[in-house]
């Protein structure tokens, strides 16, 4: 897909995010909006996915295809929208987000058998370990597919992340690309104030990772270029860490750059203002 088309998909995904969160008056719009370019670029362009007649086919084991894991599960809206728009499940189902009897739980889960989800996440710090396991299984199976995992920057404060960070280079998990969403915000405020992660790039380098940066994580062309570079470095004995610089709330001016929109839903007026800034390109659900 061309950059322009991907940007159109991203615009619709952003509309879905704010509408989903508004619909149940809960959820996490900030980080979802910030990671929209990454998820759209992965699912609509970079990842090799199993498809039949132009439609994605979900298989839990994901043999011979690329896999994506969302470790910071609270940004489920961006993942749900991307999966639905890609064709994993009906877009109408987005209307059930966070409501009783929905497959679109507040945090992603396999429990309701939603196509595209392979592990529950939400309790932070666990996703990279799972992605590493899936990547090792691919190696054991002689499967050439790659594994992608997204974490938050606040999530880097969890100890398990550093267990996984030590493990992956030691076992040469070089079919794995990890991302940190560097939006600099977490629930209680700016990450540097709440718990300063300091130089994550240097930390991961010291742990044995190949580290690259995408400075403009909300620029589709820059994200595509970064993903291409990450992929080109796979297979050389080291896992790849991508520092993805994003703006929390990107795309909706009054949500941008503030931790206040980490986990707050817009009211009717705010929804209208947000949708006014986001072109409807694929039809609202």
């Amino acid at each position: 897909m061309e950059v322009e088309q991907l940007e159109k998909v991203a615009s619709q995904v952003r509309r879905d995010i704010v509408r989903m969160v508004h619909g149940c008056q809960s959820g996490h719009p900030g980080g979802s909006l910030g990671c929209t370019e990454l998820l759209v670029a992965l699912y609509f362009e970079r990842m090799q996915l199993k498809e039949q007649d132009g439609k994605p086919v979900f298989d839990m084991n994901g043999k011979d295809e690329d896999l994506f894991f969302l470790s910071n599960g609270h940004i489920s809206p961006v993942w749900y929208s991307t999966l639905a728009r890609k064709g994993y499940f009906p877009v109408e189902e987005m209307a059930t987000f966070r409501k009783l009897d929905s497959r679109l739980q507040g945090h992603p889960t396999t429990h309701e058998h939603l196509e595209g989800i392979r592990i529950a996440s939400g309790s932070l710090g666990q996703g990279m370990s799972v992605a590493i396991g899936a990547a090792l299984a691919k190696k054991l199976n002689n499967d050439k597919g790659h594994v992608y995992v997204l974490m938050g920057d606040g999530e880097q404060q969890e100890g398990q992340v550093w267990e996984a960070a030590t493990f992956a280079p030691h076992h040469q998990v070089d079919n794995l690309v990890a991302f940190i969403d560097l939006n600099g915000q977490q629930i209680d405020g700016p990450t540097v104030k709440v718990m300063n992660n300091r130089d994550l790039g240097k930390k991961y380098e010291a742990f044995g990772w190949e580290v690259i940066s995408i400075e403009e994580g909300n620029d589709m062309a820059a994200v595509l270029k970064g993903l291409y570079e990450a992929k080109s470095r796979l297979g050389h004995g080291r896992p790849i860490m991508v520092l993805l610089h994003t703006g929390m709330g990107f795309g909706v001016d009054f949500m941008m750059g503030s931790h206040k929109w980490h986990g707050v839903a817009p009211n009717d007026e705010q929804l209208a203002a947000a949708l006014g800034q986001l072109e409807e390109t694929m039809g609202d659900y």
């Binding site: 666990q126 370990s129 799972v130 054991l140």
Partner: protein
């Protein structure tokens, strides 16, 4: 009383190692993971024959559980191994979210459970693991009684699809079950049929229960002894059938009396048939350093204690 004899004593963790050795040869999807305790878990034979299917995780149990969950996504059957304390309490949330709630086919295999770990003391002697694991929806919890049964259980859980907690221990104890037994998950094993009291035992306490049965027989008491190797799913039918005959119960386990086998049995009794029940278990305390024998004596987990409990239970009938 049916006679049980033994020619040798072995540790149940060696039964696990022997089971893994067999699985290494029989099932190419089985992968072993360990957090820096290969010797303690008796994994040497598996690793020697299947170096590519062994994953050393270092002292990072949380990551080991996550990596195990991920391996299942490629169709592997991971056996995540370490001491019972570090396999449960330390990683409870990882097991809860990435394994149990995600319904992943991970086998959590835990050695050195309970007091009989011995001299290392209470930091390592977990007595709460059965409770923690059985509370997780979808988790199967197994605590076999000797070397042969642990080996059979290890082999059996590879063919079962779903998360399993397999608990075993460090000390050498009599090997009294059949070497070629077939292990049926969730099916209680009748050790001795009796009429006066039902003794439901699990793990290391099964042998103590057999000895207690002999002591009781000498006093004219005919004890029914059942090995509840699967704490969850619990064989309620076997329990109820037994109490229908005997009318009173002793439960015994190397675990806190809160949350273990005893409480699972009590729940069945309260719901179906109220009969007196006595607990032979650790009385809501931590352990301490000592030899396994000294500790089992001090914390009330011997045949003698089962005999006393059986008499109390019988007295409460009527």
């Amino acid at each position: 009383m049916k006679k049980y004899t033994f020619t040798e004593k072995k540790d149940t963790r060696s039964g696990f190692g022997a089971g893994m050795h067999v699985l290494g040869q029989q099932n190419e999807n089985v992968v072993a993971l360990c957090a820096d305790l290969v010797g303690s878990l008796k994994l040497e034979a598996f690793i020697k024959e299947n170096p590519d299917r062994f994953i050393q995780c270092g002292i990072s149990e949380a990551n080991m559980i996550g990596v195990s969950a991920g391996l299942t996504i490629g169709g592997k059957i991971p056996f995540a191994t370490t001491f019972a304390n570090f396999a449960t309490g330390r990683v409870y949330d990882q097991i809860r979210q990435s394994v149990a709630y995600s319904n992943k086919n991970v086998k959590i295999c835990a050695s050195h459970a309970g007091l009989t770990l011995g001299e290392d003391g209470a930091t390592h002697q977990i007595l709460e693991d059965l409770g923690m694991m059985k509370m997780l929806p979808g988790m199967t919890v197994i605590n076999p009684c000797d070397y042969n049964q642990t080996k059979a259980a290890t082999i059996a859980i590879a063919d079962y699809e779903g998360p399993v907690y397999l608990r075993f221990g460090r000390p050498v104890i009599p090997v009294f079950t059949d070497a070629d037994q077939k292990f049926e998950i969730g099916k209680a094993w009748m050790v001795n049929e009796g009429t006066d009291v039902s003794i439901f035992a699990t793990g290391h306490m099964v042998w103590e229960a057999i000895q207690a049965g002999e002591l009781l027989e000498a006093e004219g008491i005919n004890a029914e002894i059942i090995n509840i190797h699967t704490i969850k799913p619990l064989d309620e039918e076997a329990i109820l059938k037994s109490v229908e005959k005997t009318g009173c119960v002793v439960t015994t386990e190397e675990h806190n009396r809160i949350g273990g086998l005893g409480d699972s049995v009590a729940q069945v009794l309260v719901k179906n048939k109220l009969v007196p029940q006595e607990y032979v278990a650790v009385n809501d305390s931590f352990g301490e350093s000592g030899t396994p024998t000294q500790l089992m004596e001090k914390y009330g987990l011997t045949a003698k204690h089962i005999v006393e409990a059986a008499k109390r239970a019988i007295e409460r009938k009527a």
